[in-house]
Subunit: 218 residues, 2 copies
Amino acid sequence: MTTRPPGLRERKKQATREALREAALRLAVERGPDQVRVEDIAEAAGVSPRTYNNYFASREQAIVAAVTADREARIAAAVAARPAGVRLADAVTEAVVEQYTNTGEREHEALLLITTRTTLRDAFLDATADIEPPLTAVIAERLGDTGAHTARVLAASVAAAVRIALEDWLRPTRNAEAAGSFGAGGLVVPSGSLPDQLRAALAPLAPALDAAERPTQP
Amino acid sequence: MTTRPPGLRERKKQATREALREAALRLAVERGPDQVRVEDIAEAAGVSPRTYNNYFASREQAIVAAVTADREARIAAAVAARPAGVRLADAVTEAVVEQYTNTGEREHEALLLITTRTTLRDAFLDATADIEPPLTAVIAERLGDTGAHTARVLAASVAAAVRIALEDWLRPTRNAEAAGSFGAGGLVVPSGSLPDQLRAALAPLAPALDAAERPTQP
DNA sequence: AGGAAAGTTTGCGTGCACGCACTTTTTCTG
DNA sequence: CAGAAAAAGTGCGTGCACGCAAACTTTCCT
């Protein structure tokens, strides 16, 4: 795979990306998220505003990326690290929980910031989708080439479940408007800790993960 | 629930929404999607540009909405229509296939248009997420109040699977760049008919749907 | 080494999303 | 039925995303 000497080009690119992430988060913390313009971030990172959005599609993505970092890769690695003996469902669940709870002090502070603005909250939730491609890869590896298609669906479902868990987690108050006109019962569980939310959201998918792991038709 | 006489207000609102959808699609077909500005659509529908995006968040959404119409509601209704005896997995799968294949002539023409522009393609795929809330409601109804949380996860997973099916379907040519750096095998199945794609994508979720339907622990 | 090819950054221009404050229309209530 | 309250539409201004084409840097190949 891509195991070539990274090359000067690529290293500079990553450096620029990190510089932008850092600058975005720092400025957002210093002066409140609404007082930061793309121009400011670009200037702080030493590139032009135009270059900024060769790296990030929106203003919010840069700020969120500083917290998210490369969680996608870490989750995929964590799944791959589990011995082949354990259930796929368990491997995935534990990897996810692990990577979402190992949160540093600085990240926690940033999360508080994120929850204050709807646009940041949304960007944060959207970032969940990034785990899908790497997750597809590791799951596909477990299932063999015949399950490549299945792997994509499962990875997407896991991503969706994680997103839901996060949604519920960072919404202590308002709880309506979730389901359609029905309301679907009305109550939405008083939102426990993040690990609990994650496990609860992933649990319904366990049967699907188990089934995929079995050769073909039992 | 919302079973009040709709009121003049609401009716006008829906009329405006439909007028915008219609105008957007018509203009896009007439003069190619890139030659249509929001201002044009708004004018054709008899509202101000500012009002336009009280209804649609992006230029593309209006065009896509003309094709999508209220498919969400139809899918939910189709699921609800199945007798309570059939497996949930079957009810959902058939409802989805049914609503995505009952496509009129005009819709088919519009789909061709959509595939020509990446931004429209993306908007079309994003519209898939709209089925999630109504689907949550009908599934929750089947599972009873204890399964409200499960219902959300399953509905989201179904939506994700449908999205994947559509992605693959309207991409006859290019096939790389799907999974991470791995490539996950490389081949992605030569993309069959839409119903086949949908069934294939939903199949891996069947065990999860089955399990949810069983009382608690078998 | 040297030059061609591939990839990146940048300035410029256009159309758009969206907040705010204000007007108009519909609905609710006494 | 009248007036208050709520909601939708409108005009305006600001910052942003993104296409395009030109300048520049790194990489590749002979």
